[in-house]
């Protein structure tokens, strides 16, 4: 694990959609699908991003442009440098011999993409198959279109694929298909509903949560979700753990550390 930010060169950039870019860098770090790094831009800030591409010594993070930091990242060019420390967190626990469903809402898809890669690799060898659901507001936001064939797309405006939410599409699929395990990442209300559905259908489920991250290694308490530190105990939690987390789907924690019910 790299404890102090290591400056790495951006060796490639892909525009995944109108608002998401993937930045590639070389490193001999070891990552598991679902783990994240803290990305440092000197003098600006440091924020968490999941590793979305794991390829030998080349890794990628897919970044949604939404505020000061991600705007600064999007302004980076090939050859530019960023600081990286990690990997942090506990990733997904992959079962590679079953029928699986991966559900990504918005940029949550980035956290799942390394999972899909890993599953596709191993599913060739083992029995089983993987169903991918990606949901966005509109077609321009869909990412990884070339990377993953046969995704089940859905958009809120119906501009492509199923018209409606990932949860709704997942509900439809559940009527026809039996899944052994579900992996999901996206807005917490979406995750909450996915978990409810999984509980109803007795399907195992793991979700990756999002909380404000400061230290990244379990010391500052900023990322708490009901006594669980998202940065080190998570970000991925299973259904059994989630059932004991009252805050799941109910509160967020602001930058000052205030727990706010939404």
């Amino acid at each position: 694990m790299i404890e102090q930010p290591m400056m790495v060169k951006i060796c490639d950039i892909i525009e995944e959609s109108s608002t998401v870019k993937t930045f590639f860098f070389e490193s001999n770090m070891q990552f598991e699908p679902g783990q994240f790094v803290m990305v440092w831009i000197p003098l600006l800030d440091e924020k968490p991003f999941t590793i979305s591409y794991i390829q030998n010594n080349i890794f990628g993070i897919s970044v949604l442009k939404r505020g000061l930091f991600t705007n600064a990242l999007h302004a980076k060019k090939i050859g530019g440098t960023i600081g990286i420390r990690g990997p942090y967190g506990r990733g997904f626990s992959l079962q590679t011999n079953s029928n699986l469903c991966v559900i990504g809402g918005g940029i949550g898809m980035a956290s799942l993409s390394a999972v899909i890669d890993r599953l596709n690799l191993t599913l060739k060898v083992h029995q089983g198959n993987v169903t991918v659901i990606q949901g966005t507001r509109t077609s321009a936001e869909i990412i990884y279109q070339k990377r993953f064939k046969n995704m089940n797309l859905c958009t809120e405006d119906g501009s492509v694929g199923f018209k409606g939410t990932t949860v709704k599409l997942f509900g439809e699929l559940l009527k026809k298909q039996r899944f052994k395990q579900v992996f999901a990442c996206g807005p917490e209300m979406m995750l909450y509903k996915v978990v409810e559905l999984c509980r109803e259908y007795c399907i195992e489920c793991e979700v990756s949560l999002d909380r404000y991250i400061k230290c990244g290694f379990g010391i500052c308490g900023q990322c708490d979700c009901s006594g669980h530190r998202v940065c080190i105990d998570g970000p991925v939690f299973n259904m059994e753990e989630l059932s004991r987390m009252e805050d799941f789907g109910k509160t967020i924690m602001t930058k000052t550390g205030e727990r706010v019910i939404y």
């Binding site: 803290m38 924020k47 230290c215 708490d224």
Partner: protein, 306 residues
């Protein structure tokens, strides 16, 4: 094998064992305090609370190095009103909960103390010693005997709970400050806060890593300094000492207690050994006491003194 008793009374607060979660580590929510208590901490301290909410410094706020940790969190906290909502029904936590109260002037300390007065805190800790937050602690001149006396006196008038005054290891005259606190009615001294500040530079970026550039040093690097502070304080004051700084093993805890601490605080140890560092430290202390023929933890307090 003697029967080992790790329990201890600190200012009339009964602790199952002498390990306390230090302020600023995990103490953001009641749920986290409870988790730490379930991992055998004898008591827990909340992250310091000010009158108004504070976002703290930008990230990076915490960084590790070979010999410990550097942090400049900058006292991020939701302010006293939100804290008063968070820390209700504290008996749920299962062990005594200590409030940590900060302010830029003595009136602020009093306002926070009053704002949480209806809750079930067991004690009030006032850190006058943060080395990296403008407006607070050392950067606001709170680390002098005079200021310590005034702030402690003000808090004394505002609460009947035990008051712990938390001191900096930087100050050469730490004993004078502790005496000022004692004179003002403090019931215990917490020694020590983080040291320095220090700086770590990323040489490829040619920039200090922490956004605030400097931060307080904690962990292994701090331990010998903290042990010396506690050793000196034990001779200088009569009130008990909460020894904090670089403790992550049972041996470290016993060393601090022999220097003169009645109980020990653990912060960076959570990074070194996980949330169950409290359980591990207690187990290691118990085993050491068994092997070395001690049955009662109180009997080793100050044991390294002539």
């Amino acid at each position: 094998m003697p029967n080992i008793d790790l329990s201890i009374k600190l200012c009339n607060i009964r602790l199952n064992n002498p390990t306390i979660l230090a302020s600023g580590i995990l103490g953001t929510t009641k749920a986290l305090l409870k988790r730490v208590a379930e991992n055998s901490a004898g008591a827990v301290t909340i992250k310091s609370i000010s009158v108004e909410p504070r976002e703290g410094h930008k990230n990076p706020t915490v960084i590790t190095f070979e010999a410990g940790m550097l942090n400049a969190v900058g006292y991020s906290n939701p302010g006293v009103e939100a804290a008063a909502r968070e820390f209700t029904d504290l008996q749920d936590v299962g062990v005594p909960v200590i409030a940590s109260v900060i302010g830029t002037q003595k009136e602020d300390f009093v306002r926070v103390v009053e704002g949480i007065s209806g809750l079930e805190f067991s004690a009030i800790e006032i850190p006058l010693s943060c080395p990296h937050t403008p407006g607070f602690g050392l950067l606001a001149g709170q680390g002098t005997p005079q200021a310590t006396f005034e702030i402690t006196s003000a808090v004394r008038r505002a609460t009947s709970l035990p008051i712990f005054v938390k001191l900096s290891p930087n100050i050469t005259e730490i004993c004078n400050i502790a005496k000022a606190a004692e004179d003002a009615g403090a019931n215990a001294i917490t020694a020590v806060n983080s040291m320095g500040p220090g700086m770590i530079i990323n040489i490829e970026a040619q920039k200090p890593i922490l956004s605030f550039k400097v931060g307080g040093v904690t962990g292994d690097a701090l331990r010998p300094i903290a042990v010396r502070c506690v050793y000196d304080l034990y001779k200088a004051i009569k009130i008990p000492i909460i020894g904090v700084g670089g403790i992550s093993t049972g041996r470290h805890a016993i060393e601090m207690i022999m220097a003169g601490a009645s109980v020990v605080g653990i912060g960076t140890g959570v990074y070194y050994r996980g949330v169950d560092v409290f359980r591990k430290v207690c187990e290691e202390m118990t085993q050491w006491m068994q092997e070395n023929g001690f049955s009662n933890i109180n009997s080793i307090v100050g044991g390294a003194h002539d």
